[in-house]
């Protein structure tokens, strides 16, 4: 758009802040993420630790944990998502108001983690809802959660409000709600939302040469 950054810096030194409307909106959003108060398992304890005095998530404007999904911007999926819990997680996500973001904290939320071979464990919440940031670890340290939060803030700061590459929530045709899976006789039905769950095909290099 042709912003003269030197001029911006010069004005700033005189106490005048010039910015684009988009940056202002993104700055506001990134600086006051209200997480949903929602802990699933072990990682939730480290999430609580991150909000406590030593790590103090309040420094990033994210200390206001809201018990109601209607008031929250950020869902931190902290812990193992079981198949019995998955429909509730999706429903909570659907109830959140746009713009909304998801952090998958810890191995279990990303991929099922150590429990992925369990019959009641969902292998990653990204099978049903879109995940913005993943934080590996079992459980990640509180600093790692803060690092994930900073990554998310950087993502929000880059978001486009208009144009072809605009963010999902700025798009009037964007999806805000995803289908909630049903309990089936053996497994969830469907087992994943194929529209958002597209794992890459694994090409294996075997001992004898490249083999699919």
């Amino acid at each position: 758009m042709g912003i003269d950054f030197n001029l911006v810096a010069d004005l700033k030194s005189h106490g005048v802040h010039v910015t684009s409307f988009e940056s202002l909106v993104n700055w506001g959003r990134a600086s006051s993420l209200w997480p949903l108060q929602f802990g699933l398992a072990c990682c939730a304890i480290e999430m609580i630790a991150a909000t406590m005095a030593r790590y103090d998530m309040a420094r990033f404007g994210a200390e206001v944990f809201r018990p109601s999904p209607r008031q929250a911007d950020l869902m931190i999926v902290a812990g193992t998502v079981t198949k019995k819990m998955a429909p509730q997680v999706v429903r909570l996500y659907n109830q959140m108001a746009e713009p909304k973001y998801v952090i998958a904290m810890g191995a279990c939320a990303i991929s099922g983690g150590p429990f992925k071979d369990g019959y009641n464990v969902l292998k990653g919440i990204d099978r049903f809802i879109p995940v913005d940031v993943v934080i590996p670890g079992c459980p990640p340290r509180p600093e790692a959660l803060l690092d994930g939060l900073l990554t998310l803030r950087a993502i929000i700061a880059r978001e486009k409000l208009l144009g072809k590459h605009r963010a999902r929530h700025a798009d009037p045709n964007g999806t805000a709600a995803f289908p909630v899976p049903e309990f089936g006789a053996h497994d969830l039905e469907p087992t994943a939302n194929r529209e958002i769950w597209n794992p890459p095909a694994i090409v294996r290099e075997s001992e004898g040469g490249t083999q699919a």
Binding site: C42, Q88, G118
Partner: protein, 375 residues
């Protein structure tokens, strides 16, 4: 008066001819603002009064037992950390002891002392966090938990230095412990033990006389002793009702018979007693820690080298592992006796006839961790 302790109180409260249309059905959970994980209760209310309460489990059922039956004995050790994830080291201990009994392995003395120190530090973490969480349930979200976690971080730093992880220690091995104490570690624990007493004084001053706390907890959720025993309640819950049953005294595992400590007992078993019991237990834990640190011997930390069940007195109650071996490298049956799960048996009886707000306090006073309830 209850003639048979196994009688459920459920039918006694719902008045005959009560109009079912007038009752309000509320589903509390699985997502809810208190900090006990994904636990759900289906509550039926008559006005504000609870007339029926059915807990719903399984939202964190992650198949630990099934996974353990398909893997080696050692590979289950890091999974036990994730059972009761507030106190991983006591789970480690219980599992290591069960396998040691199963295979007849001896544990060196120094390792036993290290285990006692870690087990009691874990109890400190659990009970302090408990005090914070239950205050949060009463609406005082913040200060108490903040103080508890401040102390918890100090213990976690000590754990990290020894075991390499803040929470998921994976430290105990069959026949001992994984590595020896780093230099200066016991001095750090010693300093922590010295500082913990003043912290408990501060916490008690903060809580004990508080009128809101008293009115929310006194005479809430108590049941007769016989009913509690019959319902399988263990741990501080049972001792708060005045039953002197602590495995550290009843069947001293490890080297607990060498330590001089007492078992705090409550009088009525209401929520107030349950909170105070935990404070007194922390004081006893400090005594054990002090003795263990003073007498920590030198020596090796790991021993070179069909069916059994073994219990330890975990911070939440009786934690047991029931292992059946068929002689292969994998356990044939691996069953956990989860104290949190069985302590929930009588939650309906405790809550009947009380207000909905009391349900949250009673749940808090049971001190559950969902990783253990659902496994």
């Amino acid at each position: 008066m209850i003639s048979d302790p196994a009688t459920s109180l459920t039918s006694a409260v719902l008045a005959p001819g009560a109009d079912d249309d007038q009752l309000l059905h509320v589903s509390l959970g699985p997502q809810h603002p208190s900090t006990h994980g994904v636990f759900r209760m289906n509550v039926v209310l008559d006005g504000e009064t609870v007339v029926r309460l059915k807990p719903v489990f399984g939202y964190l059922h992650r198949n630990h037992e099934k996974i353990a039956e398909g893997t080696s004995y050692l590979a289950s050790m890091p999974y036990t950390d994730r059972l009761d994830y507030i106190c991983p080291l006591s789970n480690n201990w219980a599992y290591a002891q069960a396998v040691e009994k199963l295979a007849g392995i001896e544990v060196p003395e120094r390792a036993e002392f290290i285990r006692v120190i870690l087990g009691e530090l874990t109890r400190l973490i659990n009970h302090s966090a408990f005090a914070g969480f239950i205050l949060g349930d009463m609406g005082a979200w913040g200060s108490a938990l903040m103080y508890a976690f401040r102390e918890r971080e100090k213990i976690l730093d000590i754990f990290e230095e020894l075991t390499g992880a803040r929470m998921m220690a994976n430290f105990m091995r069959f026949g001992g412990c994984r590595n020896d104490l780093p230099e200066g570690w016991s001095a750090k624990v010693s300093r922590l033990v010295d500082d913990y007493g003043p912290f408990l004084d501060e916490m008690e001053k903060f809580l004990v006389g508080n009128e809101i706390l008293l009115s929310r907890t006194l005479n809430v959720g108590s049941l007769p002793r016989e009913v509690l025993i019959n319902g399988g309640i263990t741990g501080p819950m049972l001792r708060a009702a005045g039953v002197p049953y602590d495995i550290r005294k009843v069947d001293p595992y490890g080297i607990y018979e060498r330590f001089d400590f007492r078992i705090p007992l409550g009088a009525t078993g209401d929520c107030y007693d349950r909170i105070m019991i935990r404070f007194l237990e922390m004081r006893e834990s400090l005594k054990i820690l002090r003795q263990a640190l003073d007498h920590l011997p030198d020596g090796p930390i790991i021993h070179p080298k069909a069916k059994i069940r073994n219990f330890i007195e975990g911070p939440k109650g009786e934690l047991g592992f029931h292992l059946i071996s068929d002689g292969t490298t994998r356990p044939y049956r691996y069953r956990i006796r989860p104290p949190s799960f069985i302590n929930l048996t009588l939650i309906e009886d405790m809550c009947l006839g009380l207000d909905l707000a009391d349900v949250v306090i009673i749940l808090g006073s049971i001190d559950i961790v969902l990783g253990e309830v659902d496994r």
